[in-house]
Symmetry: C2
Subunit: 213 residues, 2 copies
DNA sequence: ACCTGAACACCGTTCAAGT
DNA sequence: ACCTGAACACCGTTCAAGT
């Protein structure tokens, strides 16, 4: 009886797990454990163990632990940029779409967000790819604001200053939200975002200035 | 010759360094090393060594490393609250005084700020004193806003929502500033703060709405 | 009451060596 | 080229013991 000694490959031969794509597997597993244990719960040893690989196998692909984290941040900025782009298309129906998308990303991916803004971008400023990915996301906002200016819907202030302003708002809301400094859990973050962007548009000064006697 | 064998005490006898006030000494030394090495550079062993004390002496006064950090955060919130109160007195000459004071505090004490908002407040939510100190600082802002509302200078929106909005803005600016995500170093943060609060007051919508043809 | 010393269970990282 | 195993220099924390 000539039984097939090797197990039938489903699609493409999925054997050789380790040799397959360790860098991607490491990245994926890192995100997974950060998602569950937080950034400071991430341990190279546990990642390696989860992948069934030696503790030092990682060093062939990432020079450092921080290099691995930089890769996580890079992927985070890339995803954020894409979601901002998608939200930009809905800007006509919902003027707050981009801001809401930003905060939603942070709330949905606190682990990504913490790594992205956990003080890595500046400490490892050498990582040019990370730098580029980060400013790429920022540019989406800048361009959207310029378009609004050209449509005559926005003040003609310096676009990048305007963009930093808006970014600071959503960034602040996002951080307060994922750090649990807003009372309610998730829904409040979106309400606050919509409130904030609405107020930013028309101001918070009292509408009817009390005339003097 | 009867020379004084013991050194003359300057004010009160400052001998017995270790026994004196270890808790305060630990706190002070922790802030000092965080200031220089960053939060993740803080090591209990180095703190103890700098104080000439055993590595485990700390555990008599703080249950944890995180308890020591919580004490740092508590002191930070207390200082911030006091500086906000001081700024509130200048609100008439400078409407942005409180916001500027907030961002200045963060930029001047990034180590404090990082510990305060480094995800400690929520993880160790058990620390009631920290919780109280944190919301104390928030209340200063709320009360200032309510006063502005009563003076008829501010929209009659829900004060706490208004406060969360303003907080998010200065928090966002502060974080971007101390994380090096603003191009210039320190001066830009204040400029951005003034710009932001000015725009928040009157809105960013185009001032002269182009009428339709 | 306050502090010490040895010990434990962890880390990230290096490096010679295997295939 | 890719991975392993032992080793190194670190951590926070526990605990019996000293004064």
């Amino acid at each position: 009886m000539t039984t097939t000694s090797a197990p039938r490959p489903r699609r493409k031969p999925p054997r050789r797990y380790h040799h397959g794509d360790l860098p991607r597997a490491l990245l994926h597993e890192a995100v997974r454990t950060i998602q569950r244990q937080g950034v400071e719960g991430l341990t190279l040893r546990s990642v390696a163990q989860a992948l069934g690989v030696s503790r030092t196998a990682m060093y062939r692909h990432f020079v450092d632990k921080s290099a691995l984290l930089a890769a996580v941040a890079r992927e985070g900025f890339r995803t954020l940029r894409l979601e901002l782009l998608a939200a930009r298309a809905q800007l006509r129906e919902d003027p707050a779409a981009m801001g809401v998308a930003y905060v939603r990303f942070a709330v949905a991916n606190p682990s990504y967000y913490r790594v992205m803004f956990g003080g890595l971008v500046e400490r490892c400023a050498k990582d040019a790819e990370l730098e580029a990915e980060a400013s790429g996301a920022f540019e989406v906002l800048v361009e959207a604001l310029v378009a609004q200016q050209q449509a005559g819907r926005l003040r003609q202030d310096e676009p990048r200053q305007l963009a930093r302003f808006i970014w600071a708002i959503v960034h602040g809301i996002a951080r307060l939200a994922i750090d649990g400094q807003l009372q309610g859990p998730d829904e409040d973050a979106e309400r606050l975002t919509r409130y904030a962007l609405g107020r930013v548009r028309t101001g918070i000064a009292a509408p009817a200035p009390q005339s003097v006697a």
